[in-house]
Symmetry: C2
Subunit: 210 residues, 2 copies
């Protein structure tokens, strides 16, 4: 049960300057991911975030325009990392089902490394007139596209149940991934990574006809 976000795999250096500011932003990301993941966006104060990042409140507003903006960038940041992880398996597996399994493994590992992001995502995603509604639509579709592509490959290689709507299937996978992952972290840490992957793969096995 480690529970600390690891350093990010190096975002592109922006200009010449932001030696300090990049590090600061990173620490603000880490701190706010942790806190917001635990208590929700509305439950965390900017003061707390600043304190946790070892930075003054003013610095938060120097680096981000507002609390809302910080969270928006946080979401973008987290999704970028997750997308990166999911795409590492690209072209490594001949069998689409194996590829899917590897992808689920990446997803589970991501959730181990960034548990707070998963919580943040799931707790803010379906708020109705959300401040970040537009952003969620965009990020969601990026994530679903990756899952959808993996399903697509399965569908072209195997005979699948064409009666199942693709969109609903993606949503089911998505939901299973997040909830199985979060449940494991929060309530059942004894469950293994492989157990979890196997349970989610059940969906794909039910999709493929034999």
């Amino acid at each position: 049960m480690s529970m600390h976000e690891p350093a990010v795999p190096e975002l592109p250096e922006r200009k010449l300057r932001p030696a300090r500011t990049n590090a600061t932003k990173q620490r603000l990301f880490d701190a706010s991911m942790e806190l917001i993941g635990e208590r929700g966006a509305a439950g965390v104060t900017v003061d707390e975030i600043a304190a946790a990042a070892g930075v003054s409140k003013g610095t938060v507003y120097y680096n981000f325009g507002s609390k809302s903006d910080l969270i928006a960038q946080l979401l973008r940041h987290g999704v970028d990392i997750m997308l990166g992880r999911l795409q590492t398996i690209e072209g490594l597996h001949a069998d689409p089902l194996e590829a899917m399994e590897a992808m689920l493994g990446q997803a589970m590992d991501f959730m181990d490394d960034y548990p707070s992001f998963a919580r943040l995502w799931i707790s803010e995603n379906w708020r109705t007139p959300s401040e970040w509604g537009k952003l969620f639509v965009e990020l969601r579709s990026e994530l679903l596209a990756v899952i959808g592509a993996a399903i697509e490959k399965v569908a072209t290689t195997y005979t699948v149940d064409t009666g199942i709507a693709r969109g609903s299937l993606e949503a089911a996978m998505f939901g299973a991934i997040f909830v199985v992952g979060l449940d494991r972290q929060t309530y059942n840490p004894e469950r293994t990574r492989e157990q979890s992957i196997a349970a989610i793969m059940t969906i794909m096995r039910g999709y493929v006809l034999r």
Copy 2:
């Protein structure tokens, strides 16, 4: 897109008195379910809840000891209704897979009727040192028990993949149910009830060996 909680199917009248107070409590439940489902527990004020229920703030504190207590009772209330719905199919289907399908139908209908509860549940469920942590553990296990029982019947009637851990499978079902349901409401209202059920049933079809 209706989005209004219908009247509750009559909870047992408590004593003799609470003719007025029961109605008041009900309206407070409805109002807070709506608001908290939309903006989260921390994002809603007691004043707002009182106003939305058409009741004074004092009444909230007369009927509930605190905001926290209100939310706890709200969770209990919602889970009771959901449990009631899921159990209506009890013994109506000879085939466990049909029973499961009927149960998923009940779950989808519940989410249509109480969309805000689903949002409330999913957004507060995995908060780490949650104020309602103990309560969530209890309510969660009640819900999972019902799903688990339905899976159990499938497992005794059909030949299933015993390599799949029961707990993880329940979690996968649970996650698929909520996310498919919420996604349909929030982002894809054009998806049908049956489409959604079919997608979730994929899990069970993958679990059963043929």
